[in-house]
């Protein structure tokens, strides 16, 4: 079956492409990237700043349940063309992944469907792979902890 979200990350390259088809009209898809309150909802982060214009910048911050900041990211906006394109940089603060260039392309498929293509370019192929492995490492830890729980119950 066709996957809704696809990732193309070729071996040895320093970029990746995320493609997703949405069951949403183009304008609504774009709004989800434009409106700070909506961005906060689906990204699960606090939006400190989101200036949707050329030479604008953005800043996100995520806290855990206890109020500790666990994730901070920021970047500059280079291009902002409603319902078409956003060009921006992305940098995770206090993390060794460098700065990425992100090119977001928004396309109308039908009146009620749309496609988002994100092309991310990293400083190097190694940095790209490290970033890709983040959720993998978290998932493995979680799976491992839960496996241990189960095994201890089986005994």
């Amino acid at each position: 079956m066709e996957l809704k979200t696809k990732i193309k990350a070729e071996n040895g390259q320093q970029d990746l492409v995320i493609t997703r088809d949405f069951d949403l009209p183009l304008e609504l898809l774009f709004k989800a990237y434009e409106d700070p309150e909506i961005v906060a909802q689906w990204m699960g982060t606090k939006v400190l700043k989101l200036e949707n214009k050329k030479h604008g910048s953005w800043q996100f911050e995520t806290s855990d349940g206890k109020g500790n900041v666990v994730f901070k990211a920021n970047g500059a906006i280079h291009e902002f063309i409603p319902n078409q394109k956003i060009t921006r940089t992305f940098e995770m603060e206090n993390a060794p992944f460098g700065v990425q260039l992100e090119l977001l392309k928004f396309e109308r498929l039908t009146d009620s469907t749309s496609r988002l293509t994100i092309h991310s370019i990293y400083e190097s192929g190694e940095l790209r792979d490290q970033m890709l492995k983040l959720p993998f490492a978290q998932g493995i830890n979680m799976a491992h902890n839960r496996l241990q729980e189960i095994v201890s119950k089986l005994k």
């Binding site: 990732i7 949405f22 069951d23 949403l24 898809l29 709004k31 909506i38 689906w42 959720p135 993998f136």
Partner: protein, 114 residues
């Protein structure tokens, strides 16, 4: 629409992971697997069906009995590091889609009232 059976959905469930652990050391029948759990037999059968559908388990006929054994090749896919990254974005985008559909209905709601 049938649910997409991928390995990560399969191993997200603790009982299914426990089944994989059991079968990892030796091939077992459905009955032998079920005897290790307090869960009802049909529930275990459902788990076995899901694990078989996503090819983490293989069935082997031995006389009148069917044995389940682990599919090492498919298990290695779990080690593919791009898949969790893809799933993370898939989850986010699903959320985006749900939020925007609700948003659209809300807008329509206000329009109708006018």
């Amino acid at each position: 629409m049938n649910l997409r059976r991928d390995v990560f959905q399969a191993i997200a469930d603790p009982t299914r992971r426990a089944i994989l652990l059991l079968v990892a050391s030796q091939s077992l029948t459905a009955g032998a697997i079920a005897s290790n759990f307090d869960t009802a037999r049909p529930t275990v059968s459902k788990h076995l069906q899901i694990l078989t559908e996503c090819e983490l388990l293989k069935q082997e006929q031995n006389g009148r009995e069917i044995f389940y054994h682990i599919n090492a090749k498919k298990m290695r896919e779990v080690a593919d590091f791009i898949e969790p990254f893809r799933q993370m974005w898939d989850d986010r985008f699903n959320k985006l889609e749900t939020i925007m559909k609700a948003y659209k209905n809300q807008q329509h709601g206000t329009e109708n009232k006018d």
